[in-house]
Point group: C2
Chain length 210, copies 2
DNA sequence: GAAAAATTTAACCGGATGGTTAAACCCGTG
DNA sequence: CACGGGTTTAACCATCCGGTTAAATTTTTC
């Protein structure tokens, strides 16, 4: 199993508070708001319910903090790379590597974000939305330039970005479904996902040939 | 908003039982086992809790029936197309059209399947798994033949299938996330998803050029 | 119109769960 | 040692929720 990265809130690295928060992070991300139980979080942090409420007043508040931490870690990483000062080809190359690694380390995060937005749209769009969403305009311009120069086949920049994202994220997120659809063992799937980076890059660059 | 297709169990089309089942289908698929409340299902079906239990004994049983219906409708449709007797290029073409339509009509279904498997793996793999999972071997053979004939660039059949699936499914499932990442309004996103079929097909066939 | 089935009403039970409380305990620091 | 914050224990409350029940009411069917 992959370990989930536990985010660093501005706290002492190994304080009880941090351990509780990490436990909450893990449980919430895997089970969602409804599926997560406070007792389970306490158990997972190696403490008891009383202390849990001593540090974090309510489930709602704790969830809100976790959810904020999740998206405030997920989006800026993408943004940084997508805004970087780097040739398009290199940017795509690094993006695929980076993103597949990122999602592999946090396979439940995309599902968590999408699922919770679906289940509790109000709270999410009120409380959790990031202050600064990614701005892919620069990437779009780079694609348009490359098209204009004839370096790549004409293509909609938006669709290209979504294609890249899809091929990186979906197989990891949909892992249990792929096992069924493709009839692969867990072993085979691990091997398959390891090959992905190179396969995805090859596919993208093949599709971009003029 | 897209309407979700409500599956036809072998029941009278407009019976109370069917109305309840449809309501349960909708609520379960959107909110999952934990998030769905029996009262909500009853409300949604326009009846009361007592009658709900009169028709369907327990939440578990009802959920099991709904989950079975969901996957027994989702997978055979794919399988049929993927096993069809049809040239590879045409098969891909139709598959993209068909699959984007299917997911657009049931945007919550993939998330539901993946999420529930993650949250309750035991029950799912015991009770719900389809008797006959898709067998993509034929598709794989077609790809290998096309490669051997030089009709398409060399490519791993498995990765090709996953790429196609990813680009079809992910954007629809991740719609709320895309809104944030790409900074698009709901209107723009609708337009974007309409363009998808042609863009995805163009992308795939471009990537397959020898 | 009577019998049977469908549906409502309303109350209730029991367990799980979020949350509280008070007392005791542990443990490091001044 | 005494003080105080961290921590445990254990009991407890309120609420929600799945599920049941019994009777009344409506609708269907014969």
């Amino acid at each position: 199993m992959d370990n989930s990265e536990t985010p660093t809130t501005p706290e002492l690295p190994d304080s009880t508070e941090q351990r509780i928060f990490d436990a909450a992070h893990q449980v919430f991300v895997q089970k969602g708001l409804d599926g997560a139980k406070m007792q389970e979080i306490a158990d997972h942090a190696g403490i008891n319910k009383a202390l849990l409420h001593y540090y974090f007043r309510t489930k709602e508040k704790l969830f809100e903090m976790v959810a904020k931490a999740v998206i405030n870690r997920a989006f800026p990483a993408v943004q940084q790379l997508i805004e970087a000062d780097m040739p398009l080809e290199q940017k795509i190359d690094r993006f695929v590597d980076f993103y597949i690694d990122l999602i592999s380390r946090n396979p439940f995060v995309p599902l968590f974000i999408i699922g919770e937005i679906n289940k509790h749209p109000d709270q999410f769009f009120e409380k959790i939305i990031p202050a600064a969403p990614p701005r892919p305009e620069r990437f779009f311009r780079q694609v348009e330039e490359a098209v204009a120069e004839g370096r790549i086949r004409p293509i909609s920049p938006r669709h290209l970005l979504v294609n890249v994202l899809s091929m990186c994220v979906f197989p990891i997120v949909a892992r249990p479904m792929l096992r069924i659809v493709m009839g692969m063992s867990s072993q085979e799937l691990n091997q398959f996902l390891k090959e992905r980076k190179e396969e995805v890059k090859a596919f993208i660059f093949a599709a971009l040939r003029p």
